[in-house]
Amino acid sequence: METNVLKKVDIIFDITDCDYLKILDRCMSKTQDEVILDIIDSGLKGRGGAGFPTGLKWKFTKNEDSDVKYVICNADEGEPGTFKDREILDRVPEKVFTGMAICGYAIGAKEGYIYLRGEYNFLKKNLQAKIDLFNKQTIEKNFDFTIFLRSGSGAYICGEESALFESMEGFRGEPRNKPPYPTIAGYNWKPTVINNVETLVYVSMICNLGPDKFKELGTKDSRGSKVFSVSGDTPNAGIYEIELGMPLEQFVDAFGDGDTKAVQVGGASGHCVPRKNFNDTIIGFEGIPTGGSMMIFNSSRSMYNVLHDYLEFFTEESCGQCTPCRVGCQQLLKGIEAVKKGDRKPSYLEELKKLALTMKSAAKCGLGQSVANPFNSIIDNFREEIIY
């Protein structure tokens, strides 16, 4: 497998040579299909967690026949351990707007919405002022695209794309059945591209410097770099942009405190990697894909407590509509408590692992489907800590 050495880069927050109005001009001198081809060619995959190829998403949406289409920037950033989108929106919001406008041009949408996490309301005033300016400038360019800001109301599930649409439409944030996918029926049941904040920044970078520049970084399956939110037992907590495709070992060397026992890659819904697997774990879509959260645990941490926290989080944040997730989360949580207390035999953990796999294939949305990631990886690797 192709691997890279850990390389910090500075693309996202770099503001030299990036006049966003020029980027827009350059884009609009191309055809819509050419823009989409550039994005496809770059190999950019979504930075929100699922890693869907961005260019393809745009292409599907462009191909839909509809007068009304939307671009939505997912800034709900609810995944525990993730705080990069906040930083991006605070420091380089114009790059995000530009990405949205490019998308609007490429797919034929006239409206874009930023769905901002409720807890980030302190960003709102500043952001709105910058949006107003941006909107004014696009009007002056005779480019018909307007950006609006919407506040979320604090539920993790509203970051899931279809729940986000429901929330924007004024309903309870419950995920929808898929199909239909957002590219066909998203916000207001119209064709919609929904992208993560960071994805949209890379879009403007690709349009600025060309797909080849973007492709220089990363591996075949994981092009480019990515912003990581590093937290936990590290002397260097914070936000770092790193080239994709590095082995976890190198990451731990750079960020750990010398006593790292495990890294939770991808937030609460990601995988827990124990020390023995650091070397053969690649950070990227070919290895462990991630929305960018890296939580580092040293040997002083109880992995029972870690798992317990995650399960409490999911038990509370499940929207509650589907059986495998609503009840499954509670059973996993109560189950490890019972094993810990000795009310159930250690072998009950095997029943619970099977249940987690059912949740993975039977839950309605990504939340319930991903609980098995932390659950089974922590049980498998730290079984003793769960039982005793």
Binding site: E174, E316, G320, C322, T323, P324, V327, T358, K360, K364
Partner: protein
């Protein structure tokens, strides 16, 4: 637009269906049955219970067959190892948050969750019991509806019913995660919220979480009390549905057997709400004519048109809450059940020499809202509570079973007199459009002296299951007394299901519709689809019941309310004339606005 055909295989058997068909429906076509809980034919698709999972080759996850459309070349497995494991897990999970005391449950034996638990032989309760003590507190504040959250599986059928079919939204999903539940506004008791008591949610609740308030024991008590004379009345729609709960085929008319069963059960007088349905037509028909005259001749602007029917108590509570400014449009007639109660404890009691104090009036209704209605303060004009207990069709079926009666083998019997006779016009009250048809048969004839100009009296335009129906009928060559109606084209509309009623109400309120007379029934299909009728319900089931109702009408010799001999008799002996003093005292009432939340 013609639809594309899609070829797929289910359990290796090829099948071709129209695009857009769900896997569930495609499987039905091949007679593979897939269990469902949150799915209901009358409602939008939720896809939340996840018991209908199937495996689709090549897909990462299992698919909810109720929510997944077929696609070309799809290969589906409905009973693979993964499917079985997951499905069993789902049922086990549901049971782990369920207060499964089936032996004490009203739905015991009629429960979709119990059926699944039994099919999968879930005995060894793998998972931890999650039922919270506070959920075991049952809300019995409403005289119609019991809400037991400890039996709720969160399928949201009730929520969709109340929003989509009834436009009420008395029930909604609130909170998330482990706290998610089905709740009223601010968790208030059911009797304090906008609930219309229609019971449509009960009809679609797969478990015992929503049931009717049962008064079976109270009724047995009254029957066993030798000092009481217990009178029973049976609503029009009961006779075409009761059989479903007693092992008979869908759409069987069981009027005669029902009457026998009621005698066996021990009621002292077995009478018919159909009698007061006919009476309603005379009162309401005359009220309509009086309103038309006041508007057309007296130019009285205080008189409200269109006039709305008032026989559906779910509809009454809805208009009180949601459209109270249009209450003057409501006919002042009480519902047939309440006319019956008021007359039973006056007219019937006098004629039969029974002290009304010792009389207990029981109604058998397709309806849960009538339980609420019987307790309304407006409904005590006999000097007593006019109707003492209201049982649903389902409750009557239970009593018949409890009494050990082999229903299908019963002989047919006839109602007692003097409030037991009826016409076909009364029978069709049980279906949407029926009141309108009955009213037109009488009003047209009163005004013109001729029968309605429809073959065999069947006013087809007001029949059928469309949500809103409209019809017009021209009045020509009228009798001298009604010269003011000469050349008037009477315009009528019919709505069933409160979401359809809402459409009409808004159109009328906004001046977009000019009807003279509007029939509204709270329940889909009218009373035959009432909240007290046998479960399950579906468009097809309601259609079969409607067919039974119209065939009962066709088979009767008298099919016009004004030809009911007992009705003519009561006017002669007691009421004197429609809208007269006695009628005013006993048969008419007014309603008051309620809050909108």
């Amino acid at each position: 637009m013609s639809k594309y055909l899609v070829n797929l295989k289910i359990n290796n058997i090829p099948v071709t269906v129209e695009e857009g068909t769900t896997i569930l429906d495609a499987a039905k076509k091949l007679n593979f049955s897939i269990p469902t809980l949150c799915y209901h034919e009358d409602l939008s698709v939720a896809g939340n219970c996840r018991v209908c999972l199937v495996e689709v080759s090549g897909a990462r996850n299992l698919a909810a067959s109720c929510a997944t459309p077929v696609s070309e070349g799809m290969e589906v497995f409905t009973n693979s190892k993964n499917v079985r494991t997951s499905r069993k897990h789902v049922v086990e999970l549901l049971l782990s948050e369920h207060n499964a005391d089936c032996t004490k449950c009203f739905k015991n034996g009629h429960c979709e969750l119990q059926d699944l638990a039994s099919a999968y032989r879930i005995g060894d309760h793998v998972f931890i019991d999650l039922v919270k003590p506070k959920d075991k507190v049952i809300d019995i504040s409403s005289p119609s509806i019991c809400k037991d959250d400890s039996k709720c599986i969160r399928c949201q059928r009730c929520v969709r019913t109340c929003a989509e079919l009834q436009a009420v939204s008395a029930l909604a999903v609130c909170h998330k995660g482990d706290h998610q539940r089905i709740s009223t506004f601010l968790g208030k008791p059911m009797h304090e919220v906008v609930c219309t008591n229609c019971g449509q949610c009960i009809n679609r609740c797969p478990t015992g979480a929503l049931t009717e308030r049962s008064y079976i024991e109270e009724v047995w008590e009254a029957i066993n009390d030798l000092g009481k004379h217990v009178v029973v009345q049976t609503a029009p729609a009961v006779r075409v549905a009761l059989g479903e709960d007693l092992g008979m085929e869908l759409g069987t008319r069981v009027t005669g057997k029902m009457v026998s069963a009621l005698r066996h059960v021990g009621f002292d007088s077995v009478l018919d709400t159909d009698f007061t349905a006919d009476l309603t037509i005379l009162e309401e028909g005359n009220e309509l004519l009086r309103r038309l005259k006041k508007v057309l001749v007296d130019k009285d602007e205080t008189v409200a048109l269109p006039m709305f029917t008032s026989c559906s108590p779910g509809w009454i509570k809805y208009i009180e809450h949601m459209f109270s400014e249009q209450l003057p449009n409501l006919s002042t007639c009480k519902s047939p059940q309440q006319m019956f109660g008021a007359l039973a404890k006056t007219y019937y009691a006098q004629r039969k020499n029974i002290n009304p104090k010792n009389m207990v009036v029981v109604s058998i209704m397709p309806c849960t809202a009538k339980k609420f209605e019987s307790g309304r303060p407006e409904m005590r004009d006999s000097g007593y509570q006019d109707v003492d207990y209201v049982l649903t069709t389902r409750e009557l079926a239970m009593m018949i079973k409890q009494a050990g009666i082999d229903f299908s083998k019963l002989d047919e019997d006839g109602y007692d007199t003097i409030m037991g006779d009826s016409t076909g016009a009364a029978v069709i009250f049980g279906s949407t459009g029926g009141v309108m048809e009955a009213a037109l048969r009488t009003v047209y004839e009163v005004v013109t002296g001729r029968e309605v100009p429809f073959t065999n009296l069947n006013i087809v335009p007001v029949r059928g299951m469309e949500g809103v129906k409209e019809a017009r009928i021209m009045l020509k060559d009228v009798k001298p007394d009604f010269s003011y109606l000469e050349g008037v084209e009477v315009s009528v509309a019919i709505a069933h299901g409160l979401s359809n009623a809402k459409k009409i109400m808004e159109a009328v309120r906004d001046g977009k519709a000019t009807y003279h007379f509007v029939e509204v029934m709270a329940c889909p299909g009218g009373c035959l689809g009432g909240g007290g009728q046998p479960i399950p319900t579906s468009p097809d089931i309601r259609k079969k019941r409607a067919e039974a109702i119209y065939s009962e009408d066709e088979g009767l010799i008298r099919r016009k309310s004004h030809e009911n001999p007992e009705v003519l008799q009561i006017y002669k002996e007691f009421l004197i004339e429609p809208l007269g003093h006695k009628s005013h005292d006993l048969l008419h009432t007014h309603y008051k606005p309620r809050k909108r939340y």
